[in-house]
């Protein structure tokens, strides 16, 4: 029955208000987001609710010349303000959320294939007394798998109109338009005490029975696929292959794409350079602004590649299985299985990894994952690792031809980062981020084919969020560091690097980093690498290239000349731990919606780096 049922034709309360704002609410996995995208035809805005880490999507729907604002609320199972998501939902529905208009009507989205469970949410939502339309989503699946529901009876039981829709197929949605044209308040019905979940469930079961609900047969093919994907032997094997493929692609495809884009952007800058006569202006435009813009853009390929995979995994239903398989292992370090993919991605780059952590619903687990992700050895650390290892560690076989000293050193650095991440996770999870009150509950959705549409939406969504919100911070900091390296002006010209503010800062912090075995040049390198780790190599190249003593040497030779062995090893350890990545900090700020966590993270990681480098430098110096 694909039509809106006006159960209240004879209702006395014909308050025909003009609906301007409507809230979309439903349990997680009810297909709410797909419906939202359908209704708004992508005319949407993504933001954060003020002061909270829950994302806010609002969109505009055109309805016979009028524009109706649709607020997409977080997926919730009830309106008891237990979780942040539910608190947000309640305050938006009450109109007490700053900056969000009070909704005048509600679209309640319920999964028709899980109706008994999803109806639990109907009681508290209808009890709000706003005009409500209950949309039974996935109507195509219900019918296709032999389930059925009497919508007339259901509408009668609920006291609100009911429509069967399919957001993926786009069927039945005209009901929404008709409802919004003529929104009526719900008929007074006997509703359960809405704070009592048990009562609500009993009520839901009763309603489902009264409206002749027949649940669809569990999809046999989902169980057949799981017989393989969750098999004792094949399951982990498939898991390793899938995870390996994701890692390989992010690393092997995303990284070269990022490099290619970086080269392209640099070349474009070079092409334009001769046309800007003024040296200072050229430096500002190219080295300051354009480099800043480039440093934002180079992350895009990796973000898009990773989210393409996450989209495929999540939409197909495999992500939940991967979480199930990884959970036992992740549990032993105090995290849950859903943290696995984000942490793995962090080996390529922490920026997309931190953005991927939002698949973890438990806020504390998600925060812990965000905080430890930058310890994973990301690809930006590799240039400085390779440089220092090649300069200071002679190549000797350790395990025959299989493993040499250099490969071993590299491996140790990976292990070091991993150990720091695990250690930090354990500390966090047993102290500030202890989450005893939220048991790990993982729903295994049925397998579905991911749609091009939903994957495309996800990519544009993540891409634009990164560019708009993290990008601006990255750009600002890049410009700031450019300012430090190009000031003070000397007869209208930028100074040589040695005479710039950043060099003075390098000299200034020398006493602090001296115990680590670093000199002021390394200090300047560390300061400039706050923008991005790989900048270190370029800075050192410039500094040693200007120094008459090291001018004719290669960078490797110059470093050997200027650094002790223990200082070089300390520098490696420093890089393994330190948070020298503005982009990561910007993304952490964006994902936690406050400066508190990125600041804590920066201080913590730099502190560990300092301590680690100090210990390594002194231990190795004592040995020699």
């Amino acid at each position: 029955m694909n039509q809106l049922l006006q159960t209240m034709a004879d209702s006395t309360s014909q308050s025909q208000q003009q609906v301007r704002t409507v809230a979309l609410i439903g349990p997680p996995n009810s297909g709410k987001t797909t419906l939202f995208n359908r209704l708004t035809k992508l005319r949407q805005k993504v933001g954060n609710y003020p002061g909270i880490t829950v994302e806010q999507h609002t969109g505009v729907m055109a309805l016979s010349g009028r524009e109706i604002t649709i607020i997409d609320l977080p997926g919730v199972y009830s309106l008891n303000p237990h979780s942040e998501d539910e608190r947000v939902a309640v305050s938006v529905l009450n109109g007490s959320m700053d900056g969000v208009p009070r909704p005048e009507a509600i679209l309640l989205v319920l999964d028709a294939t899980n109706l008994t469970r999803h109806l639990t949410l109907a009681a508290p939502v209808i009890a709000l007394g706003l005009p409500t339309l209950a949309l039974l989503n996935m109507g195509d699946l219900l019918a296709g798998r032999g389930g059925s529901i009497d919508t007339v009876k259901l509408a009668g039981e609920l006291g609100v109109p009911v429509a069967i829709v399919s957001a993926t197929e786009g069927t039945g949605l005209d009901a929404v338009g008709r409802f919004l044209q003529q929104a009526n308040e719900p008929v007074q019905m006997t509703l359960p005490v809405v704070q009592d979940v048990r009562e609500c469930r009993r009520w839901a079961a009763h309603i489902a029975r009264e409206s002749a609900y027949r649940a669809p047969l569990p999809p046999a093919w989902t169980r057949r696929i799981d017989d393989v994907f969750l098999h004792k032997v094949w399951g982990p094997l498939v898991f390793v292959i899938v995870v390996g493929a994701v890692f390989q692609t992010v690393f092997g495809l995303g990284q070269p794409l990022s490099n290619a884009l970086q080269n392209l952007l640099a070349e474009m800058g070079q092409k334009v350079a001769p046309f800007i006569a003024n040296d200072f202006l050229r430096s500002l435009l190219l080295d300051g602004i354009w480099k800043g813009v480039s440093s934002v853009l180079v992350f895009l390929p990796q973000i898009l590649v990773l989210f393409l995979f996450i989209g495929l995994l999540e939409d197909s239903g495999y992500l939940a299985r991967a979480a199930l398989i990884a959970d036992r292992t992740m549990h032993s370090v105090g995290l849950n299985g859903k943290a696995f993919i984000p942490l793995l991605s962090a080996y390529a780059c922490a920026v997309p990894a931190i953005m991927a952590s939002r698949t973890i619903e438990n806020k504390r687990d998600r925060l812990a994952t965000i905080l430890i992700a930058p310890f994973m050895t990301c690809s930006a650390r590799l240039p400085i690792y390779t440089l220092l290892i090649a300069a200071f560690i002679p190549e000797r076989p350790v395990v025959g031809v299989l493993l040499g000293t250099r490969a071993l050193a590299m491996l140790l650095l990976y292990v070091l980062g991993f150990a720091a991440a695990i250690g930090t996770a354990k500390v966090l999870k047993s102290s500030v981020l202890k989450s005893t009150s939220a048991p790990f509950v993982l729903e295994l959705p049925e397998y579905r084919w991911p749609t091009l549409r939903s994957i495309g939406l996800r990519l544009t969504d993540r891409g634009s969020v990164f560019l708009q919100q993290a990008g601006t911070v990255i750009l600002c900091i890049s410009l700031f560091v450019w300012g430090l390296t190009n000031l003070p002006l000397h007869q209208g010209q930028p100074p040589e690097l040695e005479k710039s503010v950043v060099a003075r800062l390098g000299h200034f912090i020398e006493p602090v980093i001296r115990p680590l075995g670093f000199n002021w040049k390394i200090g300047v390198g560390l300061l400039t690498s706050v923008v991005a780790r790989e900048v270190m190599v370029g800075t050192l190249g410039t500094l040693y290239g200007r120094d008459p003593e090291t001018r004719s040497m290669s960078l490797q030779a110059a470093l050997q000349h200027d650094l002790t062995f223990s200082g070089a090893m300390a520098l490696l350890v420093f890089f393994a731990f330190a948070m020298q990545c503005t982009s990561t900090l910007a993304v952490v700020r964006r994902e936690t919606n406050s400066w508190k966590w990125p600041v804590i993270q920066f201080i913590y990681m730099t502190g560990i780096a300092f301590l680690g480098a100090f210990l390594v430098n002194h231990a190795l110096s004592a040995l020699n």
Binding site: H82, Y213, P218, T329, P439, V441
Partner: protein
């Protein structure tokens, strides 16, 4: 005979009698259908044995052993899992 959900063998069904967990955890589990009177079938185990996947209300939901062992129920003869009558 009362049994912990974590002790159910594959394919066995139990009717939940007690969720021995703090109120907030009970509320969360209840949203997924784990509550007194619910019929729960142990349908699968993760390859390493933990978590365990349960079928109830037509959905498949995984719980860790540490949680499932706090949920007590009575074993029943396995009925078709599509039967929703109470």
């Amino acid at each position: 005979m009362q049994v912990r959900l974590s002790d159910l063998k594959l394919g066995e069904t139990a009717v939940i009698e007690e969720v021995a967990l703090p109120e907030s955890e009970r509320q969360l589990l209840m949203r997924f259908g784990f509550q007194d009177g619910a019929e729960v079938r142990c349908s699968r185990r993760a390859p390493l044995g933990d978590p365990i996947v349960y079928s109830l209300d037509g959905s498949e939901i995984a719980l860790r052993v540490e949680t499932a062992c706090q949920i007590l129920g009575a074993r029943v003869e396995s009925r078709p899992i599509t039967d929703y009558s109470e």
